[in-house]
């Protein structure tokens, strides 16, 4: 469902031009569980942002479910992010002034879903992730693991096809990190395509497919 062909992306840092992605070719099927690994600066996050339509390639083509993404306008890409793609970040990126429930509700507000329907789905999802009793709490009143679960609930509330996780356990202790990974893997088993950037080789081993990146190229894919 995801098809990248000869994707290149360069950044200008100071006077230098740094290639973050060099001629990356990648096919990911529906329902796959992919771990993207590699040293810092190897282009893992850039690859993830590219797939998540937060960044545009300088050259190459990107097909999502057979549709060409590179020719879409900004608002068309935004609509796809709204409906087909979910993001989970290392630093959660919850809106600090909103309660857990309000954070989860946010994508549905942007999509223009009615408030009754919103409330029902937020309740169900928080309950399913075991944080139903924390719905009224603000992020600073939640533990790291709880915050990440709220963030995952927000990422999947629109029932996307692809879930992109950038170091989802990077800021968590071992126990809560494990719980978060269990949730992500459960979601993957129920059909969502999971692409996860990680430093942790333990986590990499659990994935069905491991991609190792070095210097903007895919070094190994197994």
């Amino acid at each position: 469902m995801i098809s990248l062909t000869r994707i290149c992306r360069e950044f200008t840092v100071g006077d230098e031009r740094v290639a973050a992605l060099r001629d990356v070719d990648l096919e990911i099927g529906s329902g796959e569980y992919v771990a993207v690994m590699g040293p810092s600066g190897s282009g893992k996050s850039t690859l993830l942002n590219m797939i998540g339509l937060l960044d545009r390639p300088d050259s190459g083509s990107y097909l999502l479910e057979g549709e060409d993404m590179t020719s879409l306008s900004g608002s068309q890409q935004a609509a796809l992010r709204r409906h087909k793609i979910g993001f989970v970040f290392q630093f959660f990126h919850l809106v600090p002034r909103m309660s857990a429930a309000e954070n989860v509700e946010l994508p549905m507000i942007l999509a223009g879903i009615d408030s009754g329907e919103r409330r029902r789905r937020v309740g169900e999802t928080l309950e399913a992730f075991g944080i139903g009793n924390r719905a009224r709490h603000r992020p600073d009143q939640l533990s790291g693991g709880q915050r990440q679960r709220v963030a995952i609930a927000r990422a999947v509330i629109m029932q996307p096809r692809v879930l992109l996780a950038d170091e989802p356990t990077g800021n968590l202790d071992r126990v809560s990190g494990g719980e978060v990974i269990d949730i992500l893997e459960d979601l993957n088993r129920s059909g969502i395509t999971l692409i996860m950037v990680t430093h942790d080789p333990e986590l990499g081993k659990r994935a069905g497919r491991r991609i190792r990146m070095v210097d903007g190229r895919i070094e190994s894919d197994s």
Partner: protein, 401 residues
């Protein structure tokens, strides 16, 4: 995204950062408040002056002897020496159907005494027609009697103040006062109407016009006050008066005719200009508030970079983010404007307490304008920050914690 959700998002965001919100509200409230208070003051001053002139009487025409005009030749000291206006001139005017009342007026100062008390005061000679023209009211007794205006009856009507000074609280009607070297019987006392432009009707003694002429040893009139029979009759009355006097003065146009409307219109213009000037000065404070809003919103955008990045990541297009930030500054401006109106109401109440005589009216247009301008200011000065938010690069905004 529903409009309701945009608004509630804006309100929540405002309450999420109370210090910033308070600052913006304060700036908006002060500037809106000052716009409303200052234009209320200007409007109040206008109405005060208009009210004063209206209390002279309605549909009033004043005839002065002499003519102010620009003519060639050496400037005359006080206009070419005019023919005096006489009592007969005044009586001749009553012929016109455009004229309802004619009051000839003679004014002078004379000592007025009752018993041992004496006061130097204005003495005004006129006819009973003065009563309706100046819209006078009696406190006691009656006004000058009808009858031949050329008969110098020895009766007088006292203003409220002079009555109190001469007689204290004891009744004056029926008593005798001495004006100059003549004795007059008091037949009435005017009601206390306060001061009105041109003449203090409290500190005055009114006598029949012929009596005043005898008292001041003159045969001319100070001026003639005429009440036209209606607002639309004023122009007709003016031409008629000019024609009648010209005929009586051997074809010379040697009088000046002033209408109350002309005076009112002039003052009205002056005060509208004044109000607009003052409101314009206050509007500068609105602009300052606008710049503060821009500043604070710019800070808000950089404070909320990661929130903006997140909104983009979960599918908000740039236009939506711009709308959200604009809605936020519009909401803050409106709340600020509402508080400014409360401030203005409190301010005008306070001024009303300190200066009870001054008619303070908060003009409706000022309220509407203040709120409208506040909203416009919020939106105009909110555009730059909102655009900056909409253009943030999501990857960079999310890369920091």
């Amino acid at each position: 995204m529903h409009l309701r959700d945009v608004i509630s998002f804006g309100i929540r965001a405002s309450f999420g950062y109370p210090a910033r919100t308070l600052l913006m509200l304060l700036a908006m409230a002060i500037s809106v408040g000052s716009v409303v208070i200052l234009s209320s003051l200007g409007e109040g001053a206008r109405q005060y002056v208009l009210g004063q002139f209206s209390s002279l009487g309605t549909n009033l025409i004043i005839i002065l002897p002499g003519r102010s005009e620009t003519v060639g030749g050496p400037p005359p000291l006080l206009g070419v020496t005019p023919r005096d206006l006489t009592l007969e001139d005044a009586l001749a005017l009553t012929r016109s159907s455009a004229i309802r009342h004619v009051a000839p007026i003679v004014v002078g100062a004379a000592p007025v005494s009752a018993g041992v008390r004496e006061r130097e005061t204005s003495v005004l000679g006129s006819t009973p027609a003065l009563f309706p023209i100046r819209q006078l009211e009696m406190a006691r007794g009656r006004f000058l009697p009808e009858g031949d205006p050329s008969r110098a009856a020895a009766v007088c009507v006292l203003g409220y103040e002079i009555k109190t000074e001469l007689f204290g609280t004891s009744p004056a009607v029926g008593e005798t006062v001495r004006i100059g070297d003549r004795r007059f019987r008091v037949i009435g006392v005017l009601a206390d109407k306060g001061e009105s432009v041109g003449m203090d009707m409290g500190d005055i003694v009114i006598v029949p016009v012929a009596a005043a002429q005898a008292l001041f040893n003159t045969s001319s009139l100070f001026r003639i006050m005429v009440e036209a029979s209606g607002r639309d009759a004023i122009e007709r009355a003016k031409t008629t008066i000019a024609a009648i006097i010209r005929e009586r003065h051997d074809g010379e146009d040697d009088i000046t005719i002033i209408t109350q409307d002309a005076i009112l219109a002039t003052f009205d213009k002056i005060f509208v200009a004044l109000t607009l000037t003052v409101a314009g000065i206050a509007a500068i404070s609105l602009a300052v508030a606008g710049i503060l809003i821009m500043n604070v919103m710019l800070i808000a955008v950089s404070q909320r970079r990661s929130e903006v990045g997140l909104l983009k990541a979960i599918g908000a297009p740039g236009g939506r983010i711009m709308a959200l930030f604009l809605a936020e500054s519009a909401i803050l401006s409106l709340i600020g404007a509402a508080q400014g109106l409360i401030l203005a109401a409190a301010g005008t109440w306070l001024i009303g307490r300190i200066f009870p005589d001054f008619p303070l009216s908060m003009p409706l247009w000022a309220l509407a304008a203040a709120v409208g301008v506040a909203l416009t200011t919020g939106l105009v000065f909110g555009v730059l920050p909102a655009r900056r938010a909409a253009r943030l690069d999501p990857v960079q905004s999310l890369s920091r914690r």
